[in-house]
Symmetry: D2
């Protein structure tokens, strides 16, 4: 039922928060958080009811991600990857599938993937590569057909949940035709997957976004859509999963920073300083506004996915969530003072976590460029100062 | 019907825009704009249907004000005063009236005022005074009972529409009891009203917000509520009319600035400069976010007027609309360049108009303080660095 | 003597300030201010002592411009144009002249121009054109040799002091060779000069920066340098006169805004509000910093004109003066409140004047680009997102 | 010789930089950096020549601190503490000493302390306490006279270099008279000093700013000035050591962030993106301006220590260095992108280090308040929203 998942996420948040400092300190993956998510049935959030899921829309996803992020932004960020995989799989409905020429066998495989998610599996994303960033058109990972399946070779970076997910969405180019980019759901049990523990970052330290080396043969039915070359098409159909799904997470982080600052200044007896009040008042307004923008974008994604105006809200959400989180967290640290910079203090972590939002692709500067082109009446997916994908 | 008024306002906007430069230049009141508003039936926007009005809620008011402001912010600002008078009169419904001890005769008088509005009259607000600002508790204008009515003496400033409104909402203190503040709807035809043409301002130049000198005897039934001393109570019941009704106007002004900048840079052939795009993209996002905040505040005012959370949205709307309008207009002028600073260019006017929003009471700094106190868990109407009313 | 001119300017500032409101209101040229400047001997500020001038360096110019701008930014801005003409003429010393192939007759003509300045004449600049902006490489005004001189035809815009200067520096292209751009000092008495009163601007309203239509024959000796095609060379030799000479003016305007705000808040009894103090404190620091930057740039211009590091300071000065003036004036208006937005209040004017700084070429966005290229190790005069000249 | 020390610091910076990542990661004290400082003779920087020192002024100190901070901000920050102790001791010259009633024996003791510094010892500062912050008037550490000396008991926090310094400047109150605050130079070898390793911070992690527990008897001659109660007097005589000595460090950190960003974007081939250039250009200007402000404050401290105008520059330097460092580092990280957030990347560390500047007392908000009071003509050391010491 709509709202149930959000309430469940809200209930989990304090448990996530209680573990956040430790995982941040050690850079360890929040295994217990994910057990909690599994128990709460949240792995099936985006999965159709007929396959055992909660059949949530993007708006409900955004509400869940916000609540989880108030507990631990890193956990919410990894969950976001799983939600984007299952959400995109679900979004390839019969109509879309037909227009893309997806064979029935691929639909059956898709259903199996979703049913397993509903039953408690979760998926990571292995898209970015060193050098290429997250741009699909620049990938160096290649695949070629082999008997009964595909042989994939390459190296991915920023693969959140590496070593913990049950399978990974891997993007790769055809070895025989550079312009063909496909996606596979590679089981974590496949021979030839190796996690290189490279993730040791300023913020969002618990995401285990390590490098993933791949030299694996996978079965036919791991090719998403059952037809090669769908990756770019699907990406452009669903910019919300690539662009705005981060946004809800960073609004949650920003709200957590305001909450932590309020708690801190009250405890330290400095809540009546005019400068402290002014900082908190301005932060409160900024976070509330950004939360509305994310909700509006999400509502439109559900109502009119892919519409021009929907996409503008998607990019606005990304831009504002990233910049607001960073600015708010910086100001809250300034309101709280030096004592909040000790490691282990929530604000110390939130300040670092919050900085990461506007750096995820599309970065804030790319978002501003995209939105500027759109406002001027151009085609923001094609024109622009920087390549988009 | 809901939405009709908004559509009507949208249709009027280009007519308002076409006259805006002249009224701004000369500081003249937009008489024709108000004739248009009358023809479109917008003076009855907030009036109950049983009295001939459109019975709009605050959300519809906000939508109308936004559309009008895209045409001319000054016209929208004066209209806002009329809407706040008629809206507040309407909001004193039977339940509120009973709790305040409003006698039947006063309700009948109230209905006459509203019916006249629906029939084409409009009202200004004469509250601020030099020295006191808009704080009701500091007024120097006094009244005393005389045979058949009241004698009001004092001087008001920032009285928008002075010399053009059909009546003025005048706030005054009792001459015999300083703590009693009442409000009267003084007809423009009353003897002893004198408009002193003092309004000659940076922005919003067409509002005719002149000084109004009052030495007038008014009838009994001009006392709003029929009971003395209701002014502060009503003000605190309806912070949205004092605080957030400006907000919709300034979002409209900000959007007009973005639109004017887009038109300018396209015409001048500089729309592909990266810095221009980035400025317009960021402005687009900021205005869209602020518009959502105003809509959210308005929706909550309709659903739960006076609720604690409603009021927080009301103050957020005021803060963000004021600061966003000023920042966006400044950036748009910078995107457009020197040629947009010639008088007569829309951006030249919008830049000045947009600056005024955060200066209206409650100023942005007061809003930040109020919101900070609220976020920290205090009582923002009572605590705080600066007096609120 | 060094410093005398600065002291003289400081003494004149209150006289300029007393007249500023009227000239701003009416858009009239401050004729009396210029009479004061003449009496104080400031027209000879940049002229060599051997020709009767004060032989000031760029640092002294900057100090004078700052003081004048504290009185009236518009007056300082027009004075800046005269200083740039006389300063550039003086800077073409014997060494430079020889390297450029300047004939002796041209040096004699140059000396006459400078001597006349020292004796009380002043010069305006007619460079910008509609469409071309201030980019020398895009000019449409042309000249061709005629018997005994040159025939110049074209139209200039933003010609500060038009109708008041004794002569105008006019940039034009050769009618026979598009790549040759030359400059002439055209006497105001020449037949065929027509001022079209187009200047009616947001800020700096008293500069009389009207359009100047030219269809005039001028004598041989008005060609600066006596050789055609020197305009671009000289412009690139002296970026300080094109880029940073505005900067001192805008720092003076910013300081005037702080001073006006302090006076206002003290008079209104609101100087103890924490938000007012914080705004004034931050503005004080920002203006002081920017003033130092302008002084540093000026000092380096005197010590090592044209050096790479000198030019970086020149561009930094332009960027920071423009953005600081606009931001400080906006914040001071917010500190002072609505009562400071009445026309005639110094802050109302200063807010508009201050906005113009970052719009003068090179705009702030161009400055940021230039400085970025320089910091990265590129050639900022040649690379970059936007054409420089 | 003036400048020698600066050149020495500049030569050391790359050595400090090479060790910075490791000390930041582990939170270990840069022992080798301090050996380098000793070898370079920098411990005697502020010591009079007659005692073997370099007899530097505040300006030279600021230049040295800036250079060291370009290598490692944490090292520079600890060095700053030593410089402030030796600088303040030196500043109590004969004239000041006489006015304060400092006995000859105390001058001899002072000379010994300084001579030891010149010979290679360095001193930390143990002033702040949990709860009291750095406000001398709120200290809980007490001392009482005992036979041959004083018994000091209390606990200090944020004691940079704890466990590594040769002696600590300890501030304490008299056990018998609460209003008497004195300072002692307590040898690290004293019985009863215990370092509690509490320092584990967001940034400046290598400063070893641990807690220091004191229950020690010290000799008579460790009482600075030889007279009780001088601490507050001296603090107010030398605000530069309490307020602005941090500033030079944070400008160095900010410049290091710009340099690291330039290196990063060139290496990654993204230096031609317009948004990257604009960010770097604006950062370049901001850092250059702030560096000038610090130099100006330092120059005035040398010329007119304690003068009203000097102190305003001191507070401006603190405000601008703190806010500029934080803003510049945040923008540089955004220019560089996600790959610069990996731990071990210089920008990742610099971003955290840079955030700490405006949080050191006096915080940026306190500085803004102080400067606002001063600009308005008040006494900023006595008036103000927040207590100053």
């Amino acid at each position: 039922m709509a709202g149930d998942a959000t309430a469940a996420a809200r209930r989990l948040a304090p448990r996530l928060a209680a573990r956040a400092a430790e995982h941040d300190r050690d850079g360890t993956f929040p295994v217990d958080d994910f057990a909690d998510l599994r128990s709460a049935g949240l792995f099936g959030l985006m999965v159709p009811a007929r396959l055992g899921g909660r059949e949530a829309g993007f708006a409900e996803y955004a509400a869940v991600a916000y609540e989880l992020a108030r507990g631990n932004g890193a956990t919410a960020l990894v969950f976001n990857m799983h939600a984007s995989v299952t959400g995109a799989l679900t979004a390839v409905n019969e109509e879309v599938a037909e227009s893309l020429g997806v064979p029935d066998a691929a639909l059956a495989a898709r259903d199996r993937m979703l049913a397993e998610a509903a039953a408690g599996s979760w998926y990571g994303v292995a898209m970015s590569e060193r050098g290429a960033g997250s741009r699909l058109s620049q990938l160096a990972t290649v695949y070629e057909p082999v008997d009964g399946g595909y042989h994939i070779r390459g190296a991915k970076t920023f693969c959140s949940g590496a070593g913990h997910a049950d399978a990974y969405l891997v993007a790769a180019r055809s070895a025989t035709d550079q312009s063909v980019v496909s996606q596979f759901l590679v089981p974590a049990t496949a021979d030839g997957l190796k996690v290189e523990p490279t993730w040791d970052s300023l913020g969002m330290r618990a995401t285990a976004s390590h490098d993933l080396h791949i030299d694996a043969v996978v079965a036919d039915d791991t090719l998403l859509g059952g037809v090669e070359g769908l990756a770019l098409v699907v990406a452009q159909l669903m910019p919300h999963w690539l662009i705005a799904s981060y946004a809800a997470v960073y609004v949650g982080v920003a709200q957590a920073a305001v909450d932590a600052a309020v708690e801190h200044v009250v405890k330290r007896g400095v809540s009546e300083l005019p400068s402290v009040r002014a900082r908190i008042g301005r932060a409160d307004a900024a976070v509330a506004a950004t939360r509305l923008v994310v909700a509006e974008a999400a509502r439109r994604v559900d109502d009119e996915p892919g519409a021009e105006e929907t996409n503008r809200w998607v990019w606005r959400a990304k831009l504002l969530a990233g910049t607001t989180a960073a600015e708010v967290a910086a100001s809250m640290l300034e309101a709280a003072g030096t004592s909040a910079t000790r490691r282990g203090h929530p604000l110390e972590r939130l300040y670092r976590d919050a900085r990461c939002g506007s750096l995820h692709p599309a970065t804030s500067d790319v978002c501003a460029d995209w939105l500027g082109v759109a406002a001027i009446g151009g085609d923001p997916d094609r024109e622009g100062t920087t390549p988009r994908w």
